[in-house]
Subunit: 187 residues, 2 copies
């Protein structure tokens, strides 16, 4: 693999594990097996490399989610599939965790892909719920935007609870609880 690619992927991994503030150029170089000069030849510095890595992760995350969303099946089936797909729960969400990083949230360039990712997920979930209302799966009174936000929040919050407990269990409980609550509004 080329040096640039190794640098980007190593940065993605380190941002996931340690955040932006907790990741040093040196650590990236070691992980990527690239020299100092090499890194600064390809990128202007830590910030530009992080921008590239975050944007890459955002695109990957959307692609993975769309795999679940784009299947055929009822709205409930698609949402449930998304909720229950295999996840590395204890690592947390690589986008969600960045919202705790002060330097990411402060820099509009670094925050933008994080922002966009969650807007996209909420929009996509709201579309699916709206479809479910159209075909009579859900009551007309169900608010698509609100419910979409709730679903996205349970996932993000599930990660938080799991990491706090150092166990997948609270995540699984939260998802299961949500699935059952959703069943309550399904006709």
């Amino acid at each position: 693999m080329e040096t640039v690619e190794r640098l980007i992927r190593s940065t993605q991994e380190l941002l996931w594990e340690r955040g932006y503030v907790g990741t040093s150029p040196k650590a990236i170089q070691v992980a990527a097996d690239a020299g100092q000069g090499s890194m600064y030849h390809h990128f202007s510095g830590k910030a530009e490399l992080a921008k590239t890595a975050i944007e890459r992760s955002a695109a990957e995350l959307r692609a993975t989610a769309e795999e679940q969303f784009a299947t055929d099946g009822t709205a409930t089936e698609r949402i449930t599939q998304y909720l229950q797909r295999d996840r590395e729960v204890l690592k947390g969400c690589r986008m969600g965790r960045l919202t705790s990083d002060p330097d990411v949230m402060t820099d509009p360039v670094l925050r933008a892909p994080v922002d966009q990712t969650f807007r996209w997920i909420r929009t996509r979930l709201a579309e699916i719920i709206a479809e479910g209302k159209q075909n009579g799966e859900y009551a007309e009174s169900l608010d698509a935007q609100e419910t979409a936000a709730t679903i996205a929040a349970v996932l993000q919050g599930g990660y938080v609870l799991a990491r706090a407990a150092n166990s997948d269990e609270p995540f699984e409980l939260a998802i299961q609880g949500l699935v059952k609550l959703l069943a309550g509004v399904t006709r």
Copy 2:
């Protein structure tokens, strides 16, 4: 206010804003208006000060939550009150955000109060839901543990979505969506 107290409170504030990795002893000293020697006289170092600050924040958080939980009223009323109480949404949860900090999660001493806080919240919510089942407010089939985890997750995830969007809106949407879903299981 005494120096020790200023040190602890400044650390609480900085941990909330910038996390453990993003907070330096120097920054704490400046915020607390305390000298280098002063800080190291009262605490062995950054880690011990952080431990004290996190434990303090955990206790405060529990006390604040219990204010909502301990009122009289139906289970739904108490839960809704907790969900809809005034919050500094864009600052996020000071316990929840620490789950993204690599050095906090790695150190058992620093992680313990975070762990305990969320276990307590989930337990407390589950108790209230169980009471609601007893007095016929909720269906017998409602799982208290799962639903408690879902509620806690929506709050934590709501913070994440709000910070990503740099707006309270997604938080409010997620809470509102949850309240309505809960109404679906209320008799």
